[in-house]
Symmetry: C2
Subunit: 609 residues, 2 copies
């Protein structure tokens, strides 16, 4: 059966279940029970029904139609993957494209029912939908896992042993983190904190798992009170080492599958602190019903904040900073060796996007404390690079020729930290337009890297430093400029981000020294090429005067830009100087890792422009 | 009695009333019943009790202490004005300064009562305080006007005739605006809109009043349903012309004093739309009690949004834009004549900050459709200019000498629109530091004026264009960079603004063509000098490409910068060019208004740098 028919058949089965359960529109987001960005195979229902493999996208199925919402990173890829399926692609943010909310209001009538699995959406989203649909007299049912009913060969829940992150790498004990969390609970006049957010739970407890590919987390729920803390994980994941550790830190371990039963009957001792943008709707509903049973109103005793754990997690401590600096140099050195190999051999030995990526992946795996890749290596040649999150398929993808550009976005998890870096390389002759676009991207990247800003500034304050070189040419890249990078956790983490408009509540989180952030502007021309230059930056203090305290960034990544692609007539005089300074640092820091041949090449690459 | 004793006595009387009514902390904001920025004398209770005359600031009185919160614009002035009163100045945003909320939580105990006049705070503020104090078991009483009980000679409510703004100046009929409002009500599934915000009510109805100095508004409340609209104003303000107009547009006019009785019993036909950041808390409470009486829950049938009227109002229509362009040229010409007169005569004829301001005010009054000043002219010499909102006192203020700098921030209301402009002028020898600061300010001003940005960008996106020249020198100015300018309404209006962090919900409002915004960076050195350069800009479209629609700004203000204060070594090459272009426009647009002598001087001032 071809692709088109597979998805049509699956959608038909889903529609039958919808009719059986009286559901007029059913929403399938890209999320597990923890609203994670990347999810285990058993949670990939959206992909199962639509064929779209991207990391973000939401499907809404009705009897007579199905629509997929995807963001700018995936416009090209999604259109390709759902072609012929009968699903309509809704390009988020484009003129005339309705929001999901507007779509539901337009297509559902009073008395009809909207359904989704409440475990897979956030409290904020669920409450908002319930309100706007409720005003139209549309019912909402969040109790049904319809995909589960028709997905016969659905994979099982992932189950991998939990492992402990030694304090030599975490830099702070779980008990110390717990004390800081309880101080915030106190400040907010609450006596409980509830979380279903996997990375912050791992961070708090100094544990890691392996339940999501490239995201070393364990499926879990957390409940903290003033004198106890509870973790719910799969029994099969609890090693003796972990259970001993839990006992030592007085952590009560419950079974993952029994969390909802526990939350239903738990006697909440006072007000409850939670983050509505992270906590799953179903967890919130369970708490609400619990409180109401006890004669309390959720409006009165639930305090909603941006997650304090998410914020604490984002600020690297001294140990983490030292380790990050260290591993970023080794990781940059490996990338640089790869670039040298690539440029030397392209056109001489057979090479595909996939085989080049594997060469790089193997180099990374040789670093002494390597754990795994932090995401599947993006290796995109020519027009493929216009798809921001393109990955070569099983067949190795496009063949690399000694011309045009290859974009490689890659990174690894190591005991010393998590890396993420993008370089775009010329493989031979390039056009003037490519050089101009690359140089504009360099202007964007370095203007942001160099900025000095007042304490209190957030990513929205800073984004224009990167976008202005694009915007003044009436160009733009359809993605955020920067995301945080977790420490052996999600390679995309918040709360900090760099984008020009608000997407999440957390986007307004001010920068603080110790935060890491990616700086990854680019130029993407559909059908032609894609360019991205990504460094990871560390937020540092620049000084305090009578006017306030000022911060800036210091790069953690030290890999050379592509000399062939830099046009000094397009670079601003300031960026030209900044690149020269940066290249001198690159040579100093990663030079020692190069062999003689590599070093000679690197020296030439790093000569002042 | 000296100042210190007057305020101590008044506070003592207030404290007695607090004891009588069992109020442990009482808050007096700077607001009328409409949460206006500028208020009529009868609402200046905060000034009455503290002596602080600024346009923003909040007093909290307890038995053993009193604290005044003021923002960066007023740190110097407030400290001076409350000196010796025993009131503690809380400098908002400075390290270690508690928020009001934190202060109340720290200083009130369970069982104690916090009080304020619920008519003078917003729904958002009231609800927030009720929640955070409630969690601590602190009561909140918003029914008491304690200042009114001890303020014997309190002025009466202002009462001035309402006047009609002809469509030739409004550019759109009230009925057309009403239809647009109802479309938003519909979109939001609501059937009522309630407002206590004076400028948006005036805008909707194409009427103006005179109840606040320099803010041509009439005290009023508004309620709009799908088939009726109600305005509550003082009977004494209703001219026959206005009542005839009201009848013609089928507007029901009620009495201002009876609005709360009306709202208590009004049968709300469906969901209610309101802006919690503008609507007064007491109005919201009245609606809530009304709904609860009818068996409904406010949570279910009140829809909170950023005010649709405030947004519509901010986008100038074609008529308004044409009129604004026109009046800004005449107003700039008058300012330029003033600058010439000032520079020619300083040191030759006696001059004070006040007399210079009067000279300028008189020039403005001669413009044919002049109505009144849009705010009291700020004329600040030498160190006085470090106080951002300084106004010379009755005695005329400081004497002007042929040295240093004079900062003049001024504007007028005309039938064609409202102006606001700041220039800082050298009156003779200046220091290198002054020239450097002025040139940095010019860099800030012109970088913002020149920026191109993607649709969806708001003031937070753009602010760094103005601040970066300051920040990279570890300097900052303690105020926003830009505010909207009303059309014969408040000279400061939203929702658009330019600041680097979020203060109000409306700060995230994206720019749209037709919006006006001030561009007014500066350098303020306490005890030394103050510099501000302010132009008003119009948001315009720059073009649409496959990457989106791009906007930019065009200046409305055309008055020369001070040549003596511009240092080409501090100006960036780009800003130097931009200033040359701007000066050529200045000469072209306001040259025709100059006499021969003035023109010769202006030509020299506008020669390319």
């Amino acid at each position: 059966m071809d692709n088109k028919n597979i998805h049509a058949e699956r959608l038909a089965a889903l529609r039958e279940k919808m009719r059986e359960h009286g559901i007029d529109a059913y929403m399938i987001p890209t999320a597990d029970f923890h609203c994670s960005e990347y999810v285990a195979p058993c949670f990939k229902a959206r992909e199962y029904f639509s064929g779209f493999t991207g990391s973000a996208g939401i499907l809404i199925v009705m009897q007579e139609r199905a629509d997929l919402w995807a963001d700018g990173r995936y416009f090209i890829q999604a259109a390709k993957e759902i072609e012929g399926s009968g699903i309509t692609l809704e390009r988020i943010g484009e003129p005339g494209v309705p929001t999901r909310e507007q779509f539901l209001k337009d297509h559902l009538k009073e008395g009809q029912t909207f359904g989704c699995d409440g475990r897979c959406i956030t409290k904020a989203e669920g409450a908002h939908l319930a309100r706007v649909l409720g005003q139209r007299g549309i019912r909402m049912d969040t109790s049904l896992d319809l995909p589960g009913m028709v997905w016969a060969d659905r994979p099982a829940l992932p189950s991998h042993p939990i492992w402990l992150l030694p304090e030599a790498f975490a830099g702070e004990s779980a008990e110390s983190k717990l004390a800081r969390l309880r101080a915030v609970m106190d400040e907010q006049d609450t006596s409980c904190y509830v979380s279903s957010k996997l990375d912050e739970i791992m961070w708090l407890l100094n544990i890691r798992g392996n339940d999501v590919e490239a995201n070393p987390v364990a499926l879990s729920y957390l409940l903290v009170t003033k004198d106890a803390w509870y973790l719910f994980v799969q029994k099969s994941e609890c090693t003796k080492e972990f259970l001993d550790y839990a006992a030592k830190i007085h952590l009560t371990v419950g079974e993952y599958e029994k969390f909802f039963d526990f939350a239903k009957d738990f006697a909440f001792p006072g007000n409850v602190l939670l983050d509505p943008n992270f906590l799953s709707f179903q967890v919130y509903q369970t708490i609400r019903e619990n409180l109401e049973k006890a004669g309390k109103r959720a409006e009165d005793c639930v305090v909603e904040v941006n997650s304090p754990l998410d914020y604490m997690k984002a600020i690297r401590n001294k140990t983490e900073i030292a380790n990050f600096k260290d591993i970023y140099i080794e990781d940059s050195a490996v990338l640089t060796k790869f670039i040298y190999w690539l440029k030397k051999n392209v056109g001489k030995i057979p090479m595909t996007e996939g085989s080049a990526a594997k060469y790089l992946d193997n180099l990374r795996a040789q670093i002494r404390d390597y754990i795994e890749l932090s995401f599947g290596t993006i290796s995109a040649y020519g027009p493929n690079a216009a798809m921001m999150h393109y990955e070569p398929g099983e067949d190795g993808g496009a063949e690399l020729k000694p011309e045009g550009m290859l974009l490689v976005d890659s990174g690894g998890h190591y005991m010393r930290g998590t890396t993420d870096v993008t370089r775009t390389m010329s493989l031979g002759p390039v056009t003037e337009d490519m050089r101009r676009s690359y140089s504009l991207t360099a202007n964007s990247n370095f203007q942001l890297q160099d900025v000095t800003f007042l304490k209190g500034s957030c990513g929205m304050t800073l984004d224009i430093c990167a976008r202005e070189p694009m915007w003044e040419n009436l160009m733009d890249y359809k993605c955020g400029t920067g995301h945080g990078v977790g420490n052996i956790l999600n390679v995309h983490e918040g709360p900090q981000s760099i984008r020009y408009h608000q997407r999440d509540a957390a986007d307004l989180t001010p920068f603080a020294p110790g935060m890491t952030i990616s700086d990854e502007p680019g130029v993407y021309k559909a059908g032609q090429y894609g360019i991205r230059i990504e460094n990871i930056l560390l937020c540092v203090e620049r000084g305090t005067t009578s006017d306030g305290t000022f911060y800036g960034f210091a790069p953690l990544t030290f890999a050379p830009l592509d000399r062939e692609l830099l046009d000094v007539n397009v670079l601003t005089p300031k960026v030209r100087e900044l690149i020269n300074t940066y290249h001198a640092q690159v040579l100093e820091k990663i030079g020692p890792f190069m062999n003689e041949e590599e070093l000679a090449w690197l020296k030439a690459e790093c000569t002042a422009l």
